[in-house]
């Protein structure tokens, strides 16, 4: 990686030379601290601790590295090398390694470890002293739930893993580390439960990860776009979440999770279409309410992509199927509106989308005034001035509100809405049906790591629908979803409905 320096002969026994080498590498990087010190009993023993300030724990360096070395009377024997004495007897640390590799040393410094050199040794000690400021664990903004666990992932990989580990205390839960990105050296971790996760999917994931040669991986999405099955599709075939409880739930279903360092977003896969409509709240809420809200969500999705298109098709092509009272009131409201319906829909869509985007970007205290100006004043004025017709305003407004239900789908639904609108403008409701058919053909074509994306909606048999359109009670979901290809389908050892009866 670091051309020219990785040859071993550059690394000598001289502290001075070695330090000079590092200083050359880290030229113009003033955060690297080179701390020289000696043993108080034997000033011939010269040491240097090299670390990057800001990402190290000063206390560890002071108390556990420098203090023992300076204060202890180190007895040297011929048998044991000084470096081993340091490693085994002097330095107090839970993670300490000996290395001769320059690469490792450089990485260690950059990762916040302390490198200890001493004069006369060709090896260095890498002592774990990582400590950088992390965000406290808080509830994720985008995936709020009214019930259930509140914690969300942070930017620290180890803390994230800890959160998952704490939920699944089994030795079958595996964490495989990899490093991706030649410059960012991002650590990623593949989590799965052995015996549940499909080996074929795991192998497929590994090969796809092997193909990534980007120099910097800053967020989960960098990877997502690489490993996604249908790269040009609007739909995600890889899921992401900020919640450890969601990750744990997916792992239990036999899915695989990918947790990255430096981002609070974990990736889960395979990801199916229905997962857009499953929220963590569903599982913590009463199954009646959860089922109803899930149906509402599905329904809203269809509405949010098709309301403007259907409205346009009905008012501009198929006036015959609008009942007279409605026809007259729509016609009345459009009386002095200058724009054709399609243009009206496009402009209003643009206005609402920009308002939504402004709401996301603007600081939160402007948000309220934004909504007042946007929704109330602009809307009212536009209708009064006969700029836009009230029905269209209602339709587009509703569309946008319904779209807020699926933050993960917002981009896709916006584009779908446009496509459907265009086809509706072309051939009315038939164009809309054609476009919708096309959408479904596409959805039925794509797969997520070999699993058909639309499963289990394509078979619509009841056993598989328990956790899709509705959320069945927990005691009723005896099996893991078949379509994930889980090896071990039985989730509850003995159908818990029996237990239910016993309890009664």
């Amino acid at each position: 990686m670091y051309k020219g320096f990785s040859e071993e002969n550059n690394w000598t026994e001289s502290l001075q030379q070695n330090e000079a080498l590092l200083r050359e590498l880290f030229k113009n990087d003033d955060t690297i601290i080179y701390r020289h010190f000696e043993n108080q009993f034997n000033s011939d023993l010269k040491f240097a601790a090299i670390f990057s300030s800001g990402i190290v724990n000063n206390e560890i360096i002071n108390e556990n590295i420098i203090l023992p070395i300076v204060a202890n009377n180190i007895r040297l024997t011929d048998k044991v090398k000084l470096i081993d004495v340091l490693k085994n007897q002097i330095i107090i640390s839970n993670d300490i390694t000996k290395t001769r590799e320059l690469d490792n040393i450089i990485q260690a410094i950059l990762n916040g470890n302390t490198v200890l050199l001493h004069d006369g040794a060709s090896e260095a000690l890498i002592i774990n002293s990582k400590d950088w400021p992390t965000r406290v664990i808080s509830e994720p903004e985008n995936e709020k739930g009214s019930l259930g666990p509140r914690e969300g992932f942070t930017e620290s990989l180890l803390i994230n893993l800890a959160m998952v580990k704490r939920k699944l205390k089994t030795h079958e839960l595996k964490f495989k580390f990899r490093v991706l990105g030649s410059r960012s050296q991002t650590k990623i971790c593949i989590c799965y439960i052995e015996g549940l996760a499909n080996e074929a999917i795991l192998a497929e994931l590994e090969t796809r990860l092997d193909k990534i040669h980007l120099d910097g991986i800053l967020d989960a999405n960098y990877i997502v776009e690489f490993i996604k099955d249908a790269p040009l599709s609007l739909f995600k075939t890889v899921g992401n979440t900020e919640r450890p409880d969601v990750v744990a739930g997916k792992l239990l279903e036999g899915r695989i999770a990918l947790i990255l360092d430096g981002t609070p977003v974990a990736i889960t896969l395979p990801y199916l279409f229905v997962e857009y409509f499953q929220t963590n709240d569903d599982y913590y809420n009463s199954f009646f309410i959860a089922s109803i809200t899930r149906i509402i969500r599905l329904f809203s999705f269809i509405l949010t992509i098709s309301a403007p298109a259907v409205f346009l098709a009905l008012t501009a092509f198929h006036q015959e199927i609008i009942p007279e009272p409605l026809l007259l009131s729509i016609s009345l409201s459009r009386q002095r509106v200058p724009f054709p319906t399609i243009i009206e829909a496009l402009i209003l869509g643009l206005v609402f989308e920009s308002m939504r985007e402004a709401g996301v970007r603007a600081s939160s205290n402007i948000g309220t005034s934004l909504s007042i100006v946007g929704a109330l004043i602009l809307g009212q004025a536009a209708v009064d001035a006969h700029f836009f017709s009230a029905p269209m305003l209602i339709i587009v407004g509703f569309t946008v509100v319904a779209g807020l239900m699926f933050p993960k789908l917002s981009g896709a639904s916006m584009i779908l809405r446009l496509i459907l609108l265009f086809f509706a403008a072309l051939m009315g409701i038939y164009g809309y049906i054609f476009a919708l058919s096309g959408l479904f053909i596409h959805l039925f074509q794509i797969r997520s790591f070999g699993v058909p994306y639309m499963s289990p909606l394509n078979s619509l048999n009841f056993q598989d629908l328990k956790d899709t359109i509705i959320r069945a009670p927990w005691w009723y979901m005896e099996y893991r979803p078949k379509f994930i290809g889980a090896l071990n389908r039985i989730r509850q050892s003995n159908g818990d409905r029996k237990l239910e009866k016993k309890l009664r």
Partner: protein, 384 residues
């Protein structure tokens, strides 16, 4: 190379949207929604079509108003199209609810009109066809309507009221008219609409029916007569039955409210001659009595029942006679009863059915079941 093709693919795709944008695209506010059509004899051409268009009064608080526009032509379509010259708007016929035909036109035959109606994909076959009792059909559309600003819609509401409260006429939709005209052993009748003076202003009124032979108008029946036609056709749902009771030389008028009615027609072959037996079963309530007489004894009730039955039978028979003698057209659908119940006989008599019909022996058996007398135990006796 591949990439270049992809670029060119976008062109036709964009073109599709750009060029095609508006084939069938028509803005809703640009439609002249035609609520009703009236067809008359024209002065210069064969037909004069008057269309009632739903218009919007300009102003901040826009309101719906009815506008009339007419055109002449040698065919109905031409007449309608010629009216666009005046209105400057294309008519939109999918919400057309009523078609009123003047008697002159109906006498010439309504086949061209019904043909237009069931041929055009733009017109719904649930459109109601009516005959104007006035001189022209346009008059009806020009009259005032009370409830709805749109007169043709008012007609449809009136039909609903007829069905619920009066049964003096019935709505005939295009496909029903076609079935009646084209079907074997049945002739067409259509509801009639007229103009009467209400509070000094001409207002439209729905009542009575027009009798057709094939597709040509042959006569009109008034509302009372139509009711008995509907009795025979088993189309009475609710309504009022007025009975004159001759009781001890006291003429008494009783209003019954019809609760439900069922009619059976049975074709019979008596002595080689076809005949028809009509059985009517009506359930009624007493709603109005114009004498202090009470019908609370068993005997009285029986008498009332038999009187009412007799009266109903006589009325039904009278209308059958009238149609048989005056018009000779089978608006009761007796022939179709022969056809469905005695198909072999029907095949024989079919060619001369019209003759058979005028000679047809009709026997009516009515059964009136008086259920309740309202909230009153008895009627009030006026004392000094």
């Amino acid at each position: 190379m591949r990439k270049n093709y992809a670029k060119f693919l976008f062109l036709p795709l964009i073109m599709i949207f750009l060029i095609s944008g508006c084939w069938n695209y028509r803005e809703i506010e640009g439609l002249a929604i035609v609520a009703g059509i009236a067809v008359d004899r024209g002065i210069h051409h064969k037909y004069l079509a008057t269309m009632e268009i739903i218009g919007f009064k300009p102003g901040q608080e826009s309101e719906i108003e009815s506008k009339l526009v007419s055109g002449e032509g040698d065919s109905i379509l031409e007449a309608i199209r010629n009216s666009y010259n005046i209105s400057g708007q294309m008519g939109y016929f999918n919400h057309t609810r009523a078609l009123i035909i003047s008697q002159d036109v109906a006498k010439m035959g309504i086949l061209p009109i019904t043909d237009l109606l069931f041929r055009s994909p733009l017109i719904r076959v649930s459109l109601a066809i009516l005959i104007s009792k006035e001189k022209t059909a346009g008059e009806v559309l020009a009259a005032r309507s009370l409830n709805q600003p749109i007169k043709s819609f008012q007609i449809c509401e009136a039909f609903a009221v007829q069905q619920k409260a009066l049964s003096k006429t019935a709505e005939i939709k295009v496909f029903e008219a076609v079935n009646a005209m084209g079907g074997e052993g049945t002739d067409l009748f259509l509801p009639t609409v007229g103009v009467i003076s209400n509070q000094g202003q001409p207002t439209m009124e729905l009542s009575g029916m027009a009798v057709f032979q094939q597709d040509k108008l042959v006569g009109l029946l008034d509302g009372e007569e139509s009711k008995y036609v509907l009795f025979i056709r088993n189309k009475v749902q609710e309504g009022i039955l007025l009975e004159n009771m001759d009781r001890e030389a006291n003429a008494t008028l009783i209003s019954f409210k019809i609760l439900k009615n069922q009619t059976w027609i049975k074709p019979v072959l008596a002595k080689g001659k076809p005949g028809v037996k009509i059985a009517v079963k009506t359930t009624v309530d007493i709603w109005e009595l114009d004498s202090p007489l009470n019908y609370d004894s068993e005997q009285d009730r029986k008498m009332l029942k038999s009187q009412a039955e007799k009266e109903l039978q006589a009325n039904i028979l009278r209308i059958v006679r009238k149609v048989q003698q005056n018009y000779g057209t089978d608006i009761f659908g007796f022939g179709s009863q022969f056809r469905s119940q005695m198909p072999e006989l029907w095949k024989e008599i079919k060619p001369e059915w019209r003759d058979y019909f005028t000679q047809l022996k009709v026997a009516v058996k009515a059964e009136v079941e008086i259920q309740k007398s309202g909230m009153a135990i008895k009627s009030l006796k006026v004392e000094d």
